[in-house]
Subunit: 244 residues, 2 copies
């Protein structure tokens, strides 16, 4: 079953506050890494798969693209996006990634931020996106790093003084659902190995352009020693590929 | 300084016994994965970078290749290879990988088994190998997985009953030397992230063909429950790339 935690009230408000204060991990780790992978945006057609509040759609809209399509499973997210991040060249659609339907060769660029690890059938999604992309088009996505999702608890091992000792790995090669707690209980994430993330793309006919395991830049670490933990274990994995 | 632990008597005898009894990890995890990545061997010129006892060179020699060149830093290894795994189409050379010199476009295939994590200047080695390969040629190599090398101890965390609880990660994004114990103290391995392993190859002009994080096959696990641990954390990373 497709998961829509974002429409639960408790989740939506927690997540909204997390993203609003702009000090979350997305801002310091995931977004700069994603931006560094973007191609020239002039005149292109973009799909944002799992667009959430529409912040990235708005950024694209103001960066010279021809069109942006934002899809998200959450009615609340799409509602917020339509109200706060609309523009003439943006279309928002409420749909699960797995149910989305677009004509072949609709987009030059598909981006997806931290959504694919909620999708069970990664291979089918990759197949869909390949079809939606024009020849030479790119897919750029981020997921929670397999090192982060292997063990469902997603917690550091702490010593008696409360210090982080190390990040535990287990069941790395046993792919499948992990039930974890994030604002609400029983958030299901699908753990996959790096081998699966990459080889599925190559088998589909994509060419690998880049893999990133982003770390906070020095400027961020100086102000926020709490970020140093992301030198100790990677939080995100980003992959950029091109349709040949 | 280039490291040559293999010529220390204590190391050589320990390693020799490890490989001789053929029940080590190499046999059940690394070698099948490496074999699965090999291209058609008929009539090609192969370099085995870090050839050790020459077992793989001999396999190539008997598999229809035109020539095999095996290089290794260890005089003892090369001596053993020359004595036990010689053939008309095999040339063994004692040299560090970092000091090897070959004409441009000498090889169709460069393989390297569990050697690159001993090399400090990975980027320079990748540059050399790119030059030694003919256009369309492949580099296929294995290293200890970055999940395995991040923390120098390379040990499971064990509970009071001696059971493996989890594999610890730390300092993942801090690349560089790790001093560990393997038959002898102070074996230096160079930890690198997956991002570095992959992007260095792409920047050089290679096209990624495959990433493997091998697990033992069911047939091996049934006979050897001790291997189940390699479903819990990956031991090896294999990468196959092609010169464009």
């Amino acid at each position: 079953m497709k998961q829509n935690i974002y429409d639960l009230d408790i989740f939506f408000s927690g997540y909204f506050n997390l993203r609003k204060n702009e000090s979350g991990l997305n801002l310091v780790l995931e977004e700069p890494a994603m931006d560094s992978l973007l191609p020239d945006l002039q005149g292109i057609d973009v799909l944002d798969a799992g667009c959430g509040f529409g912040k990235q759609c708005r950024f694209f809209s103001e960066s010279g693209v021809n069109s942006v399509t934002g899809i998200d499973i959450s009615e609340k997210m799409i509602g917020f996006a339509q109200e706060n991040n609309s523009a003439k060249n943006i279309t928002y659609l409420q749909t699960a990634l797995e149910d989305a339907v677009f004509p072949r060769e609709s987009f030059d660029l598909v981006v997806s931020s931290l959504a694919f690890h909620y999708v069970e059938a990664y291979d089918r999604l990759v197949d869909d996106i390949f079809n939606w992309l024009k020849p030479g088009g790119r897919l750029i996505f981020s997921v929670e790093h397999p090192i982060a999702t292997a063990k469902p608890e997603q917690q550091w091992i702490i010593d008696e003084a409360g210090q982080k000792m190390y990040w535990p790995i287990d069941q790395y090669s046993i792919e499948g659902p992990r039930s974890t707690k994030w604002f609400v209980d029983d958030v299901i994430k699908y753990h996959r190995t790096i081998q699966t993330y990459v080889n599925t793309l190559i088998d589909q006919g994509f060419r690998l352009i880049r893999i990133l395991e982003p770390v906070p830049s020095d400027e961020f670490i100086i102000g926020r020693p709490d970020l140093e933990q992301f030198l100790r274990r990677p939080a995100f994995l980003l992959i950029s590929v091109q349709k040949r």
